[in-house]
C-alpha cells in the first residue's frame, strides 16, 4: 500500500496543485494549477511522471515540513524558487531528485524565490474535483478541503516506487534572471495611448504586498487609459495585465477568474510567467514587447529544454555524468545514480 506524507509544519501558502482544472472555464471555474509551471513540470518529469497531470505540493514563503510514513522508499523531486531543502536536517540543495525512506523528514526553507514544488513518483492521491486535484481556495475546491495545507494533514500517495536514483537537478529556468518579462499586446491595448504604453515598457515595476496566487499587483508609473476603464466582461487568460481605475498593473496569475471587466493591456508570455511568479514582494521587474509569434517560439523552446533535461535525468548511464552533477554537488546524501 502506498505511503503518506504527513504535514509536520506548514505556514500559509502550501497547497496541492496539479497542471490545472481545465475544460470548465465556461462555467466560471478557475483553472488554478502551479504558479511556476516550468518548475512544477521539471519536478514531475524528473520522476518520470506525466509533466502536468500528477498532483504535487506547491510551497510558498512560509515553508513546510513533511514526514514520510510508508513501508518502502519513494522517489521525490523538489525544485523551484531558490528554496533550500533539508532531509532529516541535512541540506540537499535547491533542486534534486531523492529516494525518500520511511521515517525520513523533508523540510523546505524559502531562502530565495516565492514558490517551490515537491513532486512524488506517481503523484498525490487527494480527491479529484471536476477532473483535477488543483487547490483553489476561493472556491474551496481541490487539495485538502479546498484549503491550504496545515499541520496534521495527511497526503496519500498514489504509488510507492523509486525506480530512479538520486540526482541533483540543474536548469537555467530554475535560477534567477533579471531579463525583462516578455509581453504580447492585447486584447485591449487600444484602450491605452502611446505615452501609457511607452511608460509600461520603459519603467521598472515593484511587486506590492497585495499580491497572491490570484494576482500580482505592481507599483510603478501610472498607466492611464485613453478614456474609460470599464469594459463589458470578456475572457481572461493567465498572465493578463489588467489595468483598473487605479492605473496600476495587476497581472492575473494561476487563481484568476476566467472572465473579468477591466481592460487588459497585454499578457506576460507563458515562458516568463514562472520568473514573474518567483518575484517576492518588494522585488522589481521590467517588461519588453514581443510579437505573439515570438512568445510562442520562446514557449516551445523552453518546453523543449525542459523535456531534454528530463531525458538527461532519466539516462541510466552517461559518459560525462561527472561534468555537471557531482562536481557541483556538495551535498551529503545526494548521490547521482550514474556515478555510482
Amino acid at each position: 500500500m502506498p505511503g503518506i506524507l504527513r504535514v509536520l509544519r506548514a505556514g500559509p501558502g502550501a497547497t496541492v496543485q496539479d497542471g490545472g482544472r481545465y475544460h470548465h472555464r465556461r462555467h466560471g471555474v478557475t483553472p488554478a494549477g502551479p504558479m511556476d509551471w516550468a518548475a512544477f513540470r521539471t519536478a514531475n518529469l524528473a520522476l518520470g511522471n506525466d509533466p502536468d497531470r500528477p498532483a504535487a505540493v506547491e510551497i510558498g514563503l512560509s515553508g513546510v515540513e513533511f514526514l514520510y510514513e510508508a513501508a518502502a522508499p519513494v522517489g521525490v523531486a523538489l525544485c523551484g524558487g531558490g528554496f533550500s531543502w533539508l532531509r532529516d536536517g541535512s541540506e540537499v540543495g535547491p533542486a534534486a531528485r531523492l529516494v525518500l525512506r520511511p521515517g525520513e523528514r523533508l523540510a523546505a526553507r524559502p531562502t530565495a524565490g516565492a514558490f517551490a514544488y515537491l513532486a512524488v513518483a506517481g503523484g498525490l492521491d487527494t480527491p479529484v474535483e471536476l477532473g483535477s486535484r488543483a487547490t483553489h481556495t476561493r472556491s474551496r475546491m481541490g487539495g485538502i478541503e479546498g484549503r491550504m495545507l496545515r499541520e496534521g494533514d495527511v497526503l496519500p500517495l498514489l504509488a510507492e516506487e523509486a525506480r530512479l536514483g538520486e540526482a541533483r537537478i540543474a536548469a537555467p529556468w530554475l535560477t534567477r534572471n533579471a531579463a525583462p518579462l516578455r509581453v504580447v499586446l492585447g486584447p485591449q491595448d487600444d484602450y491605452f495611448g502611446d505615452d501609457a504604453l511607452s511608460a509600461f515598457f520603459s519603467e521598472e515595476f515593484r511587486l506590492t504586498t497585495a499580491s497572491d496566487r490570484m494576482a500580482y499587483r505592481l507599483e510603478g508609473p501610472e498607466i492611464a487609459h485613453k478614456e474609460s476603464f470599464n469594459i463589458v466582461s470578456d475572457g481572461i487568460a493567465m498572465g493578463a495585465i489588467q489595468i483598473a481605475g487605479d492605473k496600476k498593473p495587476l497581472v492575473l496569475m494561476a487563481d484568476h477568474p476566467p472572465t473579468g471587466g477591466y481592460p487588459k493591456l497585454g499578457h506576460v508570455a507563458r515562458a516568463d510567467i514562472g520568473r514573474l511568479a518567483q518575484l517576492r514582494r518588494g522585488e522589481t521587474c521590467r517588461f519588453v514587447r514581443v510579437s505573439v509569434e515570438e512568445a510562442r517560439a520562446a514557449l516551445l523552446a523552453l518546453e523543449g529544454e525542459i523535456a531534454a533535461t528530463a531525458r538527461y535525468l532519466h539516462a541510466p548511464l552517461r559518459q560525462s555524468s561527472t561534468q555537471d552533477l557531482p562536481r557541483h554537488n556538495r551535498i551529503d546524501g545526494v548521490v547521482d545514480e550514474r556515478s555510482s
Binding site: 465556461r26 507563458r270 514557449l299 516551445l300
Partner: protein, 240 residues
C-alpha cells in the same frame, strides 16, 4: 442580427479572443454562441476549451498544436451556419424567496429606487432573463433582461458574503450566486436550487443561451425545497 467581421485579438500565445462587439446585446451574444457551436461541430485539433462571454468568445489552445495565425485562418474557414449541435436553449423556472431572512438587501434596494419591496420582487420575478455567461466563481451566472426600473449601480464597497443561491442585481444586470462570496451587488432574494453541484451530472444546471424566469416562493416552501435540493432532487425545472 449584427453583421461585420469579428476582431481577432491575441490574449497571449495560448488564447485568442474573437470579438463581435463591445456591448451587451442579444444579437452579439447570438454570434458568440454560433461560433461556439460551430467549433463544437467542426472541432479544431489543439483547442483546449472555449469561454463564451457577452460579446466575445475566448479560445484557449495548445500552442504546440496551433499558432494564433493558424487558428484565425481555421476560424475564417469554418462553416458559420452549422447544423445545431448540443441541447437547444431551454427556459428554466427557478424558485426564489424574496422574504426575510433571505433578500438581505431588498429593503435597501427598494428605498434607493423609490419602490416598495413587493414591487421590486414583482418586477424581478416578472421578467424573462437570458443567460449570457458564467463568471466570477464556479456556477455564477450573469443574466440580461433586468427591467430598467431595477437599474441600480454597484456598491462602492463590497458587502459581506451572500449565501449560496443568493439572487443579486446591480448595474442593470442580474446574477445568481452559487457559493458564498463578498460582492458589490445587492442581495434581493434566494433560490434553494443549486446551480452548481460538483457531485451532480451535469455539475452546472443552466447553459449559456438558456432563458430563466424566477418563481416567487414563501419561506416554508424555500425550506422544503432546500431540503429536497440537499437530497439531490431537482428544484429548478425547464419549462415544458
Amino acid at each position: 442580427m449584427q453583421s461585420g467581421a469579428p476582431r481577432f485579438l491575441p490574449a497571449g500565445e495560448m488564447a485568442l479572443v474573437v470579438e463581435f462587439g463591445t456591448t451587451i446585446d442579444p444579437a452579439l451574444n447570438d454570434r458568440v454562441r454560433a461560433l461556439d457551436r460551430a467549433l463544437a461541430a467542426q472541432p479544431i485539433a489543439g483547442i483546449v476549451e472555449t469561454v463564451p462571454t457577452y460579446r466575445s468568445l475566448m479560445i484557449h489552445f495548445d500552442p504546440r498544436l496551433l499558432s494564433t495565425a493558424a487558428l484565425i485562418e481555421r476560424i475564417r474557414r469554418l462553416d458559420p451556419e452549422p447544423d445545431d449541435v448540443g441541447a437547444p436553449a431551454r427556459h428554466w423556472l427557478i424558485p426564489v424567496c424574496y422574504d426575510a431572512p433571505h433578500a438581505e438587501d431588498l429593503g435597501e434596494v427598494a428605498a434607493a429606487l423609490g419602490l416598495s419591496p413587493e414591487k421590486v420582487a414583482a418586477l424581478h420575478a416578472g421578467a424573462a432573463y437570458r443567460v449570457y455567461m458564467y463568471g466570477f466563481a464556479p456556477g455564477y451566472v450573469f443574466l440580461g433582461g433586468l427591467p430598467s426600473e431595477l437599474t441600480i449601480s454597484r456598491r462602492p464597497v463590497p458587502r459581506p458574503p451572500v449565501a449560496p443561491g443568493a439572487v443579486l442585481i446591480a448595474g442593470g444586470q442580474a446574477l445568481i450566486a452559487s457559493i458564498a462570496m463578498p460582492t458589490g451587488w445587492y442581495d434581493i432574494g434566494r433560490t434553494p436550487a443549486a446551480l452548481f453541484d460538483p457531485r451532480r451530472r451535469p455539475a452546472f444546471l443552466v447553459e449559456i443561451g438558456d432563458m430563466v424566469t424566477f418563481e416567487p416562493i414563501d419561506g416554508a416552501t424555500f425550506a422544503a425545497l432546500q431540503q429536497a435540493a440537499a437530497e439531490g432532487l431537482p428544484v429548478a425545472r425547464p419549462k415544458a
